[in-house]
């Protein structure tokens, strides 16, 4: 998938070191710092190698402070790397910041790019002029975005009066207005309700389908599953996982969980004998059961059949494996190595 397309983002040994003052507490500490300043260097991004192909949708995942946002800012030309190289569509982002700015779109979920005191329409018109988008193209794009983002109602509203969900929809339109080939999204669904999240995801899926290369950071793993095909995990400034999202799930998120309510107490031993490869546990009460099973070893219907042979099932709920499980296990250091991406994916 990624090997087939030409790379648009290429980073090698990308490193960003931040220097922070090392001050002892209190006045004496401050005075000592004044006389002889001490600093601690911390690599927020530590020799990151990254190759992203045209049209790829990549999830960039990590804990708070892992270096996600710093990477995005390095790729956007906002920060200057301490060492290493970056090329984005043939441009060095920080050296040719203005050239790079034309080909990328950046959305910071926590920082709006709208003019706080202007209506959404006015803000978008300013951006149209900043990026030199023609009036016809402007109208066409807004019409196109309107379907999913429902911009119509937002256009006459002053940005500071928008709800968070509305603001994010307007910000998405602002990010994609100039038709950027590459878009970085830093937590595009942060703080949104389910409906707003859904429209953000649907919009992003459309943009990916239209050929935009997307690199997205998020703590919401549904975002990632809905939009992205490739998963990169960063921890403490280093990339610790890079691979196909589906394969990662198949390899490491195989456990499905079936929660069942029954009408009479169950003989757990007999049930376990019938499902040798599953874990069968008592739930919160004697009438509740939790069965955890490998989705490649058992089908859900097999498990249900085994149960109904013994008791009457009143209700059940099936929980699919979450990419969260993969990430959690990677954090714990359980899955350091994934076999290289093959063509069989």
């Amino acid at each position: 998938m990624s090997s087939a397309s030409e790379p648009v983002i290429r980073a090698a040994g990308l490193t960003k070191v931040f220097r922070s003052p090392d001050k002892a507490p209190g006045l004496s500490g401050s005075l000592r710092h004044l006389v002889r300043p001490r600093h601690t260097n911390r690599a927020a991004v530590n020799s990151v190698d990254l190759t992203i192909g045209r049209g790829e949708a990549v999830a960039y995942v990590g804990a708070n402070g892992a270096g996600k946002s710093t990477t995005v800012k390095l790729l956007a030309g906002i920060l200057i790397p301490s060492s290493g190289t970056v090329r984005v569509a043939g441009v060095d982002p920080h050296r040719d910041r203005l050239v790079n700015a034309r080909q990328i779109g950046v959305l910071f979920g926590q920082r709006s790019q709208l003019w706080w005191d202007l209506t959404v329409r006015d803000s978008l018109e300013v951006l149209r002029d900043l990026y030199g988008v023609s009036r016809t193209q402007f109208t066409e794009r807004l019409d196109e975005f309107d379907e999913v983002l429902g911009l119509g109602k937002l256009l006459p509203v002053v940005a500071r009066r928008l709800s968070l969900g509305q603001r994010m929809r307007a910000d998405l339109a602002a990010t994609f207005l100039h038709g950027p080939a590459i878009v970085y999204l830093d937590e595009p669904t942060i703080g949104l309700d389910i409906a707003a999240k859904d429209s953000v995801r649907m919009f992003l899926r459309q943009r990916v389908a239209a050929g935009t290369t997307i690199l997205m950071t998020s703590h919401d793993l549904r975002d990632i599953e809905d939009v992205c095909r490739r998963l990169i995990i960063i921890d403490d400034g280093r990339i610790i996982f890079d691979g196909d999202l589906g394969r990662a799930k198949d390899a490491y998120a195989r456990q499905r969980q079936l929660s069942v309510q029954v009408d009479a107490p169950v003989d757990l031993a007999a049930l376990r004998a019938g499902l040798p490869e599953a874990q069968v546990e008592q739930g919160a009460s004697t009438r509740e059961l939790v069965v955890v099973f490998d989705r490649f070893a058992h089908r859900a219907t097999e498990v249900l059949d085994a149960l109904t042979r013994q008791v009457d099932v009143v209700d059940f709920r099936l929980q699919e494996p979450q990419i969260e499980d993969v990430v959690r296990r990677v954090y714990r250091g359980e899955l350091l190595v994934l076999p290289p991406q093959g063509v069989d994916a």
Partner: protein
């Protein structure tokens, strides 16, 4: 040019939102104007001091008031806040020059500042009688000199604003700059009232162009070649500060650490 015009238009519209904040900040300047008028009226009386008569002093003080209002609304704390809060990251994703963009925004906000200044002029002339008006040639020189205040003052504000890349405390820097500019620009007292060596030095510093030069041209104290030389000095300083600001920016942006997100 189109991007910068768009930014200027945006800030021209945005300033209306802050008209109340602006009016409050103008109170300070208006009180300063009234106090200075009262003091100089008492000092000068019917005679003259350091070559300035009462009508000339009124002209001088009105220009000083206008220069105080100009470039006071948009750039100063707004830019500092964007740097400190990390919003500057958004500004840096735009395909436009940062310095020109901030200048464009400042110019966009000038109209409301001029409006307030004009109200001040009408008020003073109505209440305190006519001011000194020079001949048309010097009036033109004055208008040019007042126009030069905008880039000059913008650059001084902009360069101090860039300090936010190094420090979190902008208020202290702002106060220090206001104190220096007030004294060295002649906003509080005309430079000719400073000790002579100090006044002479101040005349050649960029700050003189922020108040003293246009004020003295309108008051008729700076005329002929001296007026032209004052105007040229403003232009030269604006160009030098433009380059200095560029150099400062190039260093500042390397300091950028965007905290939190």
């Amino acid at each position: 040019m189109r991007p910068y015009l768009a930014l200027a238009r945006a800030s021209a519209r945005s300033v209306l939102t802050y008209r109340l904040t602006f009016v409050f900040s103008m109170f300070g300047l208006i009180f300063q104007l009234l106090a200075l008028l009262a003091i100089w009226h008492a000092v000068i009386g019917a005679g003259q001091v350091n070559g300035l008569t009462w009508p000339q002093m009124k002209s001088y003080l009105l220009v000083a008031f206008s220069c105080g209002a100009l470039v006071s609304l948009y750039t100063d704390f707004g830019m500092a806040a964007r740097i400190q809060s990390g919003m500057v990251a958004v500004d840096l994703t735009r395909p436009i020059d940062y310095q020109k963009a901030r200048l464009a925004e400042t110019v966009g906000g000038v109209w409301i500042e001029l409006l307030v200044a004009a109200l001040g002029w009408c008020g003073v002339i109505t209440l305190l009688g006519t001011i000194f008006w020079p001949d048309p040639v010097h009036l033109l020189l004055f208008v040019l000199s007042l126009a030069a205040v905008v880039p000059l003052k913008f650059l001084v504000v902009y360069i101090t604003g860039l300090a936010c890349f190094w420090t979190q405390n902008y208020l202290g820097i702002n106060w220090a700059r206001v104190a220096v500019v007030n004294l060295l620009s002649g906003a509080l007292i005309p430079l000719s009232f400073l000790p002579s060596w100090f006044g002479t030095v101040a005349e050649y510093l960029p700050f003189a162009g922020i108040t003293s030069t246009p004020a003295l041209i309108l008051a008729g104290d700076l005329h002929g070649l001296a007026a032209v030389r004052g105007l040229l000095l403003q232009v030269v300083w604006a160009l030098l500060l433009w380059l200095l600001a560029r150099a400062t920016w190039a260093t500042a942006v390397r300091q950028l650490t965007v905290h939190g997100g």
